[in-house]
């Protein structure tokens, strides 16, 4: 741990304690997240169709259920004799060949909920009972004791990053992440934000003060980044480039969060999902080569999820309705490439959906225990076994 980082932890712990009036917080020892490793979480919003992402191309039941939207055997990029990638994911094939791309099959949770929002909240809180209002990454931040250890790259902070004591940053885009108060007003601005307030006013006051600290820290360090790859011209890719810049700046985030939306493909799925998966793969592959160039590829892994998969059978609109289990993916040098888990049985379904076998919290647990060096039990509130996808 570098001295600046240690100082920052101490400083932020004091600052938060002072601004939130949480004396108990000081007593909690700041847990250190494993080394300087970063986990990038990618959220595919809307319910990505796992079956058309990791395609069971040897399975007749798959083609029978999807006469119009199935990915044909000719199109598929074979990974194993039974499974292949959607053709839009071609940019990820090099990572697969290098053993740096993992697919986790059959992921879900008990009593699946087909509501986008209930389901998303379950993934965000890591709690199918939804008793936990805080997000699982928010809990990481509280455990580490550093509100800056996890950031969202995007406009709205997802529930995963909400915490009871902290406001976790959302950065979008990085270049605008700086404060420009005219020099002669800085004093008055600071004084205005020193007066404690009540309720939501105090929340806004603390959020503003925290923002001033965060922006100062980032802007002082972000110049360390030099372009390492050409990114596609998509918002998602630009956000991944900002993630690479933050990691290169070494400003201390252990978790970065990026979202790509639009996966709610009830109608005309092929055109929509094909384009989204191309955006996903284009962004991720550029990100990976960038990290490689920066000499950071040993320090970063990506883990991707969606709130649910889709119904096995296509609907009459050449789309798919909300389903239950789906696939997750992970990539990076720290990942054990390959297929983890068994493919779903497409002939034995629950209300038209695949029956999940692997709890998503087991996948989270692996990242927490083995990559971030945190106790998954503390964060997830229980022990969850899972596929060994971290190398």
């Amino acid at each position: 741990m570098s001295p600046t980082r240690r100082d920052f932890l101490k400083f932020s712990a004091l600052a938060v304690a002072a601004t939130t009036g949480m004396p108990g917080f000081l007593a909690r020892a700041a847990a250190q997240a494993g080394g300087e490793k970063t986990l990038v979480v990618v959220q595919l919003t809307g319910g990505n169709d796992g079956l058309n992402t990791l395609v069971p191309y040897s399975n007749g039941a798959y083609y029978a259920a999807r006469p119009r939207i199935a990915v044909s055997r000719q199109e598929v990029l074979p990974l194993t004799p039974n499974l292949g990638l959607h053709p839009s994911l071609k940019p990820l094939m090099k990572l697969w060949d290098d053993g740096q791309l993992a697919w986790m099959e059959n992921i879900g949770y008990p009593n699946p909920n087909r509501s986008h929002f209930a389901s998303m909240a379950i993934w965000h809180t890591a709690d199918p009972a939804q008793a936990q209002a805080d997000g699982w990454i928010g809990r990481i931040a509280e455990k580490i004791g550093d509100p800056f250890c996890a950031s969202n790259i995007g406009g709205t902070t997802p529930q995963a990053l909400q915490a009871s004591e902290f406001t976790l940053p959302s950065i979008d885009p990085l270049d605008n992440f700086q404060i420009r108060v005219p020099a002669n007003l800085e004093g008055a601005f600071n004084t205005m934000l020193s007066t404690p307030r009540q309720g939501e006013a105090d929340y806004l006051r603390r959020a503003t003060r925290q923002m001033m600290k965060n922006t100062a820290r980032v802007q002082a360090n972000v110049k360390k980044y030099k372009d390492g790859a050409v990114y596609p011209d998509t918002r998602f890719a630009r956000q991944l480039r900002d993630a690479a810049r933050l990691i290169a700046a070494g400003v201390g985030q252990r978790v970065l969060y990026v979202s790509l939306g639009g996966f709610d493909t009830h109608a005309g799925q092929r055109a929509e999902q094909d384009e989204l998966l191309a955006t996903l793969a284009g962004g991720l592959s550029a990100f990976q080569s960038d990290l490689e160039k920066q000499g950071l590829s040993e320090k970063v892994i990506v883990m991707g999820f969606s709130e649910f998969g889709r119904r096995v059978a296509e609907n009459d609109s050449a789309g798919t309705d909300h389903g239950k289990g789906s696939v997750m993916f992970a990539l990076g040098k720290g990942v054990k490439g390959g297929i983890h888990g068994d493919s779903p049985d497409l002939e034995k379904l629950s209300e038209g959906d695949i029956i999940y076998k692997q709890d998503f919290r087991g996948v989270y647990a692996e990242a927490l225990n083995k990559w971030l060096g945190l106790s998954a039990r503390d964060i997830l509130g229980g022990d969850f076994g899972g596929p060994g996808w971290v190398a």
């Binding site: 986008h116 406009g155 922006t215």
Partner: protein, 420 residues
Amino acid sequence: MTLTPYAQNLSPEDAAHFVRRTRFGGTDAEIRALVGKDARAVARAALDFDQTRAARNPFDPATGATPGAMIQLTRAGWLYEMIYGPHPLREKLALTWSNHFVVGTDKVRNESSLRQYLTLLRRHAATRRFEEFTLDVARTPAMLRYLDNDQNRKGKPNENFSRELLELFTTGIGHYTEKDVQEGARALSGWTFTGGRGNKNFLEEARFEYQKNRHDPGEKTYLGQTGKFEPQDIVRLAAQHPQTAVFIARKLHRAFVADTPDEKAVQGSAETFRRTHGDLRAVLEELLSSEAFYGSRQRIIRGPVEYIVGALRTLGRPELAAKRLVNLAQLSGRMGQQILEPDTVKGWDGGREWINDSTLLLRMNLAASLTLSKDAPQVKPPTNLALTGSERDLLRAELGKLNDKQRTYLTMISPEFQLA
């Protein structure tokens, strides 16, 4: 248990509170015009709006050269109506309903569909019949397209609208089963629209149509009732469900009373909703003249649109160039509230979700451009009452030595201004 009426005549701070909540904000003179009046009379007058629109709105979506341009003009045109239009409460309600009956311009890229939808939100803004409102929205090409009911037909159900009708528009989650969603989808089959499809036809008129041959006429069981339900029966049953009253009341409390509403007060409004069979006008009139309303100062974090419109209305609605208004509509999107395009069909949750490092920075930049920059509008400096809702100069100790522009700028980025 109904809501207790606010018995006092309005003080200057009560009046400021009312203006900040129901008109996005206003000038000192606009606030003082309400001082001393009876709360019920003030609420009634505010709700007595007609359908007149802003004169000289420079934005006409029908002149858009591309679907994207048409959508930008729609957003800027609506922002103009909120800032300069004669009925800010009608617009505030329309904005609230657009965050309830959500459609999104990611899928709805047709000028007439968006126009019909917005006209409907304004017409039903404080409707006497929530049920009719829901029915009308369900039949707009915008909603039919956004939630794919135009694809829903006999034997080939598309459940998207059926699910969100229950989960997000009426009862809320936990009051229906998966079976209700499926049976509802069967009954809703056949409602679709003609015209205005495809990227090239973004200016073509879209029209609701009931294609009877695509409707599943069989028997369905929905929310405990069985019959050969037609599409409108499903919408009515969902809208009449007792839990719908609670769900809608909570939405209105979140829009007008507090980000985290008091559930007892919500039940009070729900009871009025039920008793009047979904008379939103009655619910709103009672709510906006209640103790619960006047006792909830500074409990709502202004969203991006409220922040932008609030700032301009507080500054006395200075004239801005059309290009600048288009920029403001775009800015709202970057602040997390792209008008007519929430991230998901659930809409924006609001409250603390509006606030993060990036959105705070954008608010600061906007405040600077409206006050300190060389192209800041020339206006009479707003009073403390107009800016913060309080006659007492809360920030005097900090800001006392500054000039008017500096004081306005720093107040606009204070927690007090960002709350309503």
